[in-house]
């Protein structure tokens, strides 16, 4: 794939960490990170489209189901916070 030279501004600490890790090319790291972000955004957009199609076809989900989903993720995240991770 053709490459394009650009100027970006990134956190100094991140640059130092990447260099300390012995990474040969900072450009390859930035390129890889951009690729992952593009992929993540494209998948998120696809998920939103899919949900919108279902909403149009079947109407909104019940408040109980929506609340249960929130609770399930809250429970997951609460476990994280109590373990000191995240």
């Amino acid at each position: 794939m053709a490459k394009r030279k650009i100027t970006v501004t990134v956190d100094e600490e991140l640059v130092e960490l990447v260099q300390d890790a012995g990474t040969a090319s900072l450009s390859s790291v930035v390129n890889s990170a951009l690729g992952r972000e593009v992929d993540r955004r494209a998948r998120a957009a696809a998920l939103q489209r899919m949900l919108a199609e279902w909403d149009d076809a079947y109407g909104p989900v019940s408040e109980d189901d929506a609340a249960a989903a929130v609770d399930a993720f809250d429970d997951l995240d609460a476990v994280s916070e109590s373990s000191g991770a995240a």
Binding site: D39, R40, A42, R43, A44, A45, A46, L47, Q48, R49, M50, L51, W54, A57, Y58, V61, S62, D65, A66, A68, A69, V70, A72, F73, D75, L76, D77, V79, S80, S83, A85, A86
Partner: protein, 148 residues
């Protein structure tokens, strides 16, 4: 930080079957909507597809569910399939060994294993007890289950 470092929503066979249903259950839609709101990935170990790809109608529904996108517009599927490479296979083996489980749990162990790099995950499953037993083998990962 919002949540478990972006811990994903992970689907086992029951979750994937629900996703591929002609009319996905509201509970599944709600979980996907909450995952979207929290900017979480929706992951399926590719091997889980083997449990759903049974017969032409079901297989076609599965194909549509995991690949609905327009490649020409640079789109991606909403669901990310995680293929089994050596590192994942090694993690699966470690989970089965740690849980004292046999190969009959290899697919469930994949579901648990794909959570590990994220530090955890919310697993949509019809076998919460099995998933929890396997998850106990990786205590550093924060894995929770939910059923439809």
């Amino acid at each position: 930080m919002n949540g478990v470092s972006g811990a994903p929503l992970v689907l086992d066979a029951a979750g994937l079957d629900a996703l591929a249903a002609p009319r996905p259950p509201d509970r599944m839609r709600a979980l996907l909507a909450e995952a979207a709101r929290r900017e979480r990935d929706v992951l399926v170990p590719t091997v889980v597809c083997a449990e759903i790809a049974r017969g032409r109608p079901r297989t076609r529904a599965l194909e549509a569910a995991v690949s609905r996108h327009d490649r020409h517009r640079g789109e991606r599927p909403a669901v990310r399939l995680i293929d089994t490479d050596f590192a994942l296979a090694r993690q699966v083996g470690a989970i089965l060994h740690g849980a004292g489980s046999g190969t009959e749990r290899v697919v469930d162990a994949h579901v648990v294993a794909v959570c590990v790099p994220f530090g955890g995950g919310l697993v949509v499953t019809s076998d919460p007890d099995d998933i929890s037993r396997l998850a106990a083998a990786v205590p550093a990962a924060r894995i929770r289950t939910t059923s439809l």
